[in-house]
């Protein structure tokens, strides 16, 4: 690429030699952020591991309060949204205005379906006194000897799914802004970095759920379903 041609691109910042170098820097920067996210969620996964080792039976008993079909549906919805996100990144990279906007809106819609199911699940837990807290945690079906471990389980359930859902709540408005940008023709074959960087974030959120589903819902092998 000649210097003249590179300098002519409106998206190229002056401190980069070329669009390619600029994009490589963005990818590495975004991955640096993703590594901090791994550590952010990682702390919770560590606490989960420790408490599950301490209260294996209580965790299994407590997990029976979760609705496996709903968890399975949400897993499929989220994997679907990862696919539509990947297609959105691809369409934006090919400079397809309408295609990119559509895939991004579809991704946001699947995100909303996931959150809707989650709201229903949370509501059920509030109604059945499964929310941890002094004088509040009073589950009907969990024997008293398991209350201590079950309360730890539900603390982790709300912390982990809550942090996960927070990431999605942050992501959905960004998706809609990107969809509008795409529709207005902001992205082209030579520049679609914002969509691709957001894709990394969205796929990461999917990865977190890939681990949360078996760790929270599928603990008890003897469970009848």
């Amino acid at each position: 690429m000649s210097e003249h041609a590179a300098a002519a691109h409106p998206r190229l910042q002056h401190h980069f030699d070329s669009l390619e170098q600029q994009k490589d820097a963005s990818v590495l920067g975004m991955w640096t952020f993703m590594v901090t996210e791994i550590m952010f969620f990682g702390g919770l996964f560590l606490v989960y591991a420790v408490y599950r080792v301490m209260y294996p039976e209580s965790f299994a008993v407590a997990s029976r309060e979760l609705d496996i079909p709903l968890g399975l549906i949400n897993t499929i919805v989220l994997i679907g949204s990862s696919f539509t996100m990947a297609m959105g990144v691809r369409s934006a990279a090919f400079g397809r205005r309408r295609g990119a906007a559509l895939w991004l809106v579809l991704t946001a819609l699947l995100g909303l379906v996931f959150l809707g199911v989650k709201v229903g699940e949370y509501q059920h837990k509030f109604e059945h006194h499964l929310v941890p807290g002094e004088g509040r945690f009073a589950p009907d079906h969990i024997p008293a000897e398991h209350h201590r471990g079950a309360e730890a389980y539900f603390s982790l359930y709300f912390a982990m799914t809550g942090l996960h859902a927070t990431h999605m709540i942050i992501g959905i408005p960004i998706l809609l802004v990107l969809a509008v940008s795409a529709y207005r023709g902001r992205f082209s074959r030579s520049y679609s970095t914002p969509v691709e960087m957001f894709g990394l974030y969205w796929h990461f959120v999917d990865i977190i759920w890939i681990f949360l589903f078996p760790l929270l819902y599928l603990i008890d092998p003897s469970r009848h379903h």
């Binding site: 991955w31 496996i68 990947a86 691809r90 030579s190």
Partner: protein, 98 residues
């Protein structure tokens, strides 16, 4: 630049693989492997395979420079060290947390 990513066929194949592995996770959760601990190992094993597919193809790490892979591996390796190191203590010293 726009040709760095995977082909459409690859995206669809990864999507189908992720859905199939989700069903495998679901079925394997209720199988009797002799020990409940094995169910955990199987579930986490499948989750790691699914996460790897997402990272390599959906997140383009297979198509990026090597340096990106170094960052990704370093991030997950440190997390593994954190968890394995801590559990090592809890497993081998039964009186902890009692």
């Amino acid at each position: 630049m726009s040709n760095h990513g995977p082909s459409l066929k690859t995206y669809v194949a990864v999507f189908v693989a992720l859905l199939l592995l989700t069903m495998v996770t679901y079925s394997a959760a209720f199988m009797d492997f002799g020990s409940h601990r094995l169910n955990v190992v199987v579930a986490l094993g499948i989750a790691v395979v699914k996460a790897t597919l997402v990272v390599l193809f959906f997140m383009h790490v297979k198509y990026n420079e090597r340096l990106v892979s170094v960052f990704v591996v370093a991030g997950f390796a440190w997390l593994a060290l954190l968890i394995v190191g801590t559990l090592h203590d809890y497993w081998t010293r039964g009186w902890l947390g009692q």
